[in-house]
C-alpha cells in the first residue's frame, strides 16, 4: 500500500447550506500522479480547494471533516503554512502581469517579504524553471514581463512559481483545459516528470488525460467518492457501475481527444 501524503476523513464542503462534497474518505499516495475525475460540477475543484484551504476564503463556504497532510491536521495549522506546502496551479494561467518572469518565480518569497541572497535567488529561479521545463525558453528573458509568453508557457511559469516554494503536494485544477493540444501534451509530460519531486494531484473531466497521465484515479460524482484505484485497473475493470457509465461516455464526459 502506498504511503498517503494527503488523507481525508469524512470531508464535506458546503456553499451555505448546499453540500457540494459529501463525506469523502480519500488517500492520496505520495510521489504519484492522482487524478480526481468526474463530470462537470461534481465537486472536484471544491474538493482540492479544501486541501489547501482556499475553499474557506469564499464567503458562506464551510468545511467539515478532517484533512491530514503527512498526518498533520491541515485545519489545525496556519493556513498560510498549509498553502506553502500544498501548491496550486489554476485552469487559466495567471502569472502576475506587473512582475518580470524572474520575480514571478520568486513571488512566493518576495510577496512574503522573505529575504534571499542573490545567489539563492538565481538558484531558485533556475531550478524552478528547469523543473517546469521552461528554463531554456526564457533564460535570456528573465527580466522581461511574462505577458509575451504563450498560454502554455505562461502555465509552465505558474508551475515554476508554485514549485519555487518547495511544496509537498502540487494541485492542478484542470490545468490544460484552456490550452492548445501541443501545450497540453507538454504539460502532461511535465506532470509525469514532476512526480519524482512532488505528489501531483490533478483535477480533470477528460478521462483520456486521466488515463495517460495518472497512476491512480479517484472518481467523484455529485460530491461523493465513487471509486478509487490504480488507473489501469479502474479504466479496464471498474468496480462501480457509475464509474463504468462515466468512462463509456453515458454521461458528463468532455468531448476532447
Amino acid at each position: 500500500m502506498e504511503s498517503a501524503v494527503l488523507r481525508t476523513e469524512a470531508l464535506s464542503a458546503y456553499f451555505g447550506e448546499t453540500e457540494v462534497v459529501k463525506r469523502v474518505h480519500l488517500r492520496i499516495p505520495e510521489k504519484k500522479v492522482t487524478s480526481i475525475m468526474g463530470p462537470s460540477g461534481c465537486g472536484k475543484s471544491t474538493l482540492i480547494r479544501c486541501f489547501n484551504r482556499m475553499h474557506e476564503m469564499i464567503s458562506g463556504a464551510r468545511v467539515e471533516g478532517k484533512v491530514y497532510l503527512q498526518e498533520q491536521d491541515v485545519y489545525a495549522m496556519d493556513p498560510i503554512t498549509v498553502r506553502t506546502r500544498i501548491g496550486m496551479v489554476f485552469q487559466r494561467p495567471n502569472p502576475f502581469p506587473m512582475m518580470t518572469i524572474r520575480n514571478n518565480v520568486l513571488a512566493g518569497y518576495k510577496l512574503n517579504g522573505i529575504r534571499l541572497s542573490s545567489s539563492e535567488r538565481d538558484e531558485i529561479v533556475e531550478t524552478s524553471l528547469r523543473g517546469a521545463a521552461l528554463w531554456d525558453e526564457v533564460k535570456d528573458f528573465l527580466n522581461r514581463k511574462g505577458t509575451f509568453l504563450s498560454g502554455g508557457q505562461q502555465q509552465r511559469l505558474c508551475i515554476a512559481r508554485a514549485l519555487a516554494v518547495n511544496p509537498d503536494v502540487l494541485l492542478f485544477d484542470e490545468p490544460t483545459s484552456a490550452l492548445d493540444p501541443k501545450s497540453t501534451a507538454h504539460i502532461e509530460s511535465l506532470m509525469i516528470e514532476l512526480k519524482d519531486q512532488v505528489t501531483v494531484t490533478l483535477v480533470t473531466h477528460n478521462t483520456a488525460q486521466a488515463g495517460r497521465v495518472s497512476d491512480f484515479i479517484a472518481f467523484l460524482y455529485l460530491g461523493e467518492l465513487i471509486e478509487f484505484g490504480p488507473t489501469g485497473q479502474l479504466m479496464t475493470i471498474p468496480k462501480d457501475k457509475r464509474t463504468e457509465e462515466f468512462l463509456t461516455g453515458k454521461f458528463g464526459q468532455e468531448e476532447k481527444r
Partner: protein, 282 residues
C-alpha cells in the same frame, strides 16, 4: 432586398453617423470657446511677475497671484493627505466586501456625498471647524476640499479594483501570501494606475472649487503659510477680482483663470498619458 429600400437604409445609416459626429463636435464647442476666450484675455498677463508677486493695492499697477497659487497648493495638500489613504482604503473595502450589508450602506453614503452641493459641505465645515476654533483657516478649507475629494477617490479605487481578475488574488493566496499582503503587494500595484487616475482627477476637480472656500479658507491679501490662518486661493481670487470694478484686478482674474484652466487641462492630459504607459493588461 429591393434596390430602393437598400439605398434608403444606407442613407439613413450615413445620416445617423453624420449626426453623431456633428453633435460630438457641438458638445466640444463650449470648451473650445471657453479656452479660446480665456487665453485671449489672460495669456498676456502671464508674466514672471504675475507668478511671484503678491497682489498690489488698487491704484498701483502690476501685482501677481503668488499667494493664491501657494494657497491653492496648500489647500490641495491638506485635502489630499487624509483623503487619499482614507479613500483608497474605503475603495478596497467596497470592492472586497461588496456582499456585506455595511458595504451597501457605505456605497449609498458615498453616492450621496458625491451629490452633496459643495456649498453645503462648506457650511458644515464652517460650523464644525471655523466656529469651534474661532477663525477661518487653511485647515478648514483643506478639510472641505478633502471631503469633496473623498467620493471620487473611493469610486475610482473601487472601480479599478473590481476590474482586477479574481485569478490574480487566488494566485497570490495559493502561494501562501497572507490576505493583507495580497492586497498591498499584488492588488494595489496592479490597480495603481487606475487609482492614481482617480486621485488626480479629483484633485483637478477640487482645485477650482470656490463655494466651500468662502466660509472656510476665506481668503487673504497676503501670503500665508500658517494652516491655522486664512489663506487665499485661485478660485477665490478670481471670484473677488472679477466682480470688482477695477480693470487691473480684472486682468489678474483673467490670468488666474488661465492658470486654472491650464492646470486642469495639463492634469487630464497627464492622466491619459500615464494610463497608457502604466496600465496593467490582464
Amino acid at each position: 432586398m429591393r434596390e430602393s429600400r437598400l439605398t434608403w437604409r444606407i442613407a439613413k445609416d450615413r445620416g445617423f453617423r453624420g449626426m453623431i459626429i456633428f453633435l460630438a463636435l457641438l458638445s466640444m464647442a463650449p470648451l473650445v470657446l471657453i479656452i479660446f476666450y480665456i487665453m485671449r484675455n489672460g495669456l498676456l498677463s502671464l508674466t514672471w511677475n504675475f507668478f511671484v508677486e503678491l497682489p498690489r493695492p488698487v491704484g498701483e499697477g502690476g501685482g501677481g497671484i503668488s499667494n493664491a497659487l501657494v494657497g491653492t497648493g496648500l489647500l490641495v495638500l491638506i485635502a489630499a493627505i487624509p483623503s487619499i489613504p482614507l479613500g483608497v482604503a474605503a475603495g478596497i473595502y467596497l470592492c472586497e466586501y461588496r456582499e456585506k450589508k455595511l458595504a451597501y450602506w457605505a456605497a449609498l453614503a458615498v453616492d450621496v456625498l458625491q451629490g452633496t452641493p459643495s456649498i453645503v459641505i462648506g457650511i458644515i465645515v464652517y460650523v464644525w471647524v471655523v466656529v469651534s476654533v474661532g477663525s477661518f483657516s487653511a485647515l478648514s478649507g483643506g478639510m472641505a476640499l478633502g471631503i469633496m475629494m473623498l467620493p471620487m477617490i473611493i469610486k475610482g479605487t473601487e472601480e479599478t479594483l473590481m476590474l482586477i481578475p479574481h485569478a490574480m488574488k487566488e494566485a497570490a493566496l495559493a502561494l501562501g501570501v497572507p490576505y493583507y499582503r495580497t492586497i498591498l503587494k499584488v492588488i494595489l500595484p496592479a490597480g495603481a494606475s487606475g487609482i492614481m487616475t482617480g486621485v488626480l482627477i479629483s484633485i483637478g476637480r477640487v482645485a477650482g472649487e470656490t463655494a466651500p472656500l468662502l466660509f472656510t479658507a476665506f481668503g487673504n491679501a497676503f501670503m500665508n503659510l500658517n494652516v491655522l490662518k486664512p489663506v487665499n486661493a485661485l478660485p477665490m481670487l478670481i471670484y473677488n477680482y472679477a466682480t470688482s470694478p477695477y480693470p487691473e484686478w480684472h486682468r489678474l482674474a483673467w490670468g488666474a483663470s488661465c492658470v486654472l484652466v491650464g492646470f486642469v487641462l495639463t492634469l487630464n492630459l497627464s492622466v491619459r498619458i500615464m494610463t497608457r504607459r502604466w496600465k496593467v493588461q490582464f
